[in-house]
Symmetry: C2
């Protein structure tokens, strides 16, 4: 098979050449690949690629692009370019795009397109993106249940041709509605093709359908897709009338998003975190859960102090801080590894990015380590009232937390090379290595400081 | 909307009545719901439901059922019933079903169906279920690229009608192949309906397609679905000829399976674990990772011993076992919570099952706690050589590990009631509560035992 061996270096090469060459190159590659590469190019370079494409290609590229790439492109487009692109997109994608532009732009653009379509879009924009309303398209084919198949085929042809947007793509089927506009069944185009033109739609339709309301959370929509194995889910208003359809593609995205969300939340970072964000943004995502761990660890130290005789030396008392270091190192290590496990699973981390990703993870860990060290210093000083002791605790915490991030990201990134599922190694194995080495490093560093000070 | 308020209690009621009543009830409910309910019925009751259905309904029910339900049903079916059901299913589903039956049954059944179809099925069965070959169907529509649309429509009608299996369902489109049978493009039925019958297929097809080979892992197939937003992925042999198609539904299942796998492996249990398995099976799934943590914890205790003066009393020495208890309690708590987070996300745990799930989780935790306690007792005895001390360590470990499973499952199950995302609470919050309370319980229990002994 003619597998495309093209990669980002090829695109960079073409960026140095003329516009025509660049356009020709883009025509050879799948837009999903180009969208992937744009993530590692400058804003200027992204714009260069985008601007040599025609409206249809631009629409495709935007659909496949991540928000970080899409945002600046949307901002730079002229109104007429924007309108051109919108004509090539399904309503749900248009709504996504418009929700990224500022209000003034949205209003200007909406005024330039077909009035009826603009009305539909205005409604779509106001639904939050993680609800059924935010996922649905308002452009879909419908048919009355008593229509004969022959008439239904003519009707669909007409609907496809008069529709403003490029309806009929994405493999959407046809919804059968009653007089009140409520969905009562579903037929695929294949059903129309394969039955006698004299049958009625009612006779061939799938009648057992499930609906959702526009306010329902995307997770619930994904459950409907999953449980009932549907290819598209109808969205109805309070009266039960059909107002939109969520296509199967969104189910993929939602299911993956929700699973990533679960995994990332479970380790206490934001579901929005990914490996291409700046170091400080990522620190910000992960930080909110550390104070709890610091407080818990300090609480443990305070409680365990009661188990020790009054005159216990600082060399032994340092042991009461072990829950603190194990908790923090565990958090930071598993955060690094979980972010990378998901990034490896979704194809976000490719071999050429490994080194950069590792460096940035360790940087994130170092910053968090420093901040935790400072917090531990303050806490230990309040509990023990001894400056050298508190300094030793703080410094030892900073060192061992940083070490935990080296372990967490290092072990996870090495896994694919030795053909081990990173999720297996990154779990209990990582935690154990981190617990043992973390507490050893902590006690050693603290002892060294205490005996030298 | 007429939401079905029917639940499993209704089904149980009908099970007490006559066959006709039961058949009528099943016709009113979605098969996905019945399949769900069967999981909580006895094998005898499942068979009762299954046996009152006709072949088409049986096929549907089997498609929606989990393996634990499907297996016994397949075993009990007569050969002629089996053949009847197979006629109602797509090739990929048939292959799944046959791979569950024993070889002799499979051979007998295959001989009773159309020769050509049986040949295709024989090939499908030998692919591992987690590869592209195991996911694909061999029944799909193809068309030559120079065919005119009008002829293509006739051709598709013919293919649908002569096909042995119920081809044309599932919203699959049409693959355009060259003379060598290699896929060169894709058209949807909508494309055929909406273009002039005089156009050629080549003019309207989507030409930029991605293929996979039957040996490729399901995770890679899911990545192709996800990255390129495809509704079906073609599978080709070494010569590039089209041999199968993976439908979008499988992408849902695979994406979710892979995400669940990642989350469950990350916490060191098997991806096959779920809340309906017997307690001891679940203990077996989770146990393999505990020895590592026990060894790591004992290693820490041994290392930390060096930080203590020779004459340190047992009340203080108990502190060196804190990494052990924190490691174990963390493992066990997060295993409980991760299993339940996924079970809640996939709809496996419904409100009526909460109590049973909680009890079984705590039982699992208690068994693991006992086993870890014994291991810790042995380890501590080897390190310290004092029987009462080792007994105290072992008992305290057993208590605090059991406590961790109560915390892990309790907090996770409470979350939906207080409208908190369980993944958020089950992560660092759970770990912190478990670290602090676990080490406090451990030290208290150990002290009580040491001072009383």
């Amino acid at each position: 098979m003619e597998e495309t061996p093209l990669d980002i270096s090829e695109l960079k090469l073409r960026l140095a050449g003329g516009d025509e060459e660049l356009t020709a190159f883009c025509a050879e590659v799948h837009f999903a690949d180009i969208a992937d590469w744009l993530q590692d190019l400058s804003e200027e370079e992204c714009w260069r690629v985008f601007s040599v494409l025609d409206a249809e290609a631009r629409a495709e590229l935007l659909e496949y692009s991540e928000e970080a790439v899409r945002g600046p492109l949307v901002d730079r487009m002229s109104d007429s370019d924007f309108v051109g692109v919108l004509h090539e997109m399904q309503a749900d994608d248009v709504a996504d795009l418009l929700s990224m532009a500022n209000e003034a732009t949205t209003e200007r653009v909406l005024r330039k397109i077909d009035f009826e379509r603009a009305q539909g879009l205005r409604e779509l924009i106001h639904y939050p993106p993680d609800t059924a309303g935010g996922l649905m398209t308002t452009e879909f084919a419908t048919i009355g249940e008593n229509t004969r198949i022959g008439d239904a085929i003519k009707e669909i042809k007409k609907q496809v041709q008069t529709d403003e947007g490029p309806s009929g793509e994405d493999g959407l089927g046809i919804w059968v509605v009653d007089e009140a506009g409520c969905p009562v069944g579903f037929v695929s185009d294949r059903d129309l093709l394969s039955h006698s033109i004299h049958d009625t739609v009612h006779e061939v339709m799938e009648g057992d359908i499930k609906t959702v309301t526009p306010e329902q959370d995307q997770e619930e929509v994904a459950l409907v897709f999953r449980k009932y194995g549907m290819s598209e889910v109808p969205v109805v208003d309070r009266g039960g009338a059909l107002i939109g359809v969520v296509a199967f593609e969104y189910a993929h995205e939602v299911l993956e998003e929700e699973a990533s969300e679960d995994i990332l939340r479970l380790v206490g970072t934001s579901p929005d975190e990914h490996t291409r964000l700046p170091v400080l943004t990522r620190v910000k995502h992960r930080l909110p859960m550390q104070p709890l761990t610091v407080l818990g660890g300090l609480l443990s130290a305070w409680v365990l102090d009661f188990a020790l005789p009054e005159d216990t030396g600082s060399g032994v008392r340092i042991l009461t801080y072990i829950p603190l270091i194990i908790g923090l190192a565990g958090n930071v290590g598993i955060q690094s590894s979980a972010v990378l496990v998901r990034a490896l699973a979704t194809g976000e981390v490719t071999p050429d990015r490994e080194r950069a990703v590792f460096t940035s993870e360790v940087l994130v860990g170092t910053v968090i380590g420093l901040l935790c060290g400072i917090a531990a210093f303050v806490g230990a000083h309040l509990i023990e009232g001894e400056l050298p002791f508190a300094l030793a605790v703080g410094f030892a915490i900073a060192v061992s937390v940083t070490w935990a991030s080296v372990l967490g990201s290092g072990i996870t990134l090495l896994c694919p090379r030795v053909k081990i599922d990173p999720a297996i190694a990154a779990g209990p194995f990582l935690i154990t290595v981190s617990d043992v080495s973390g507490s050893a490093i902590f006690v050693t560093v603290a002892h060294l400081l205490l005996t030298s000070g």
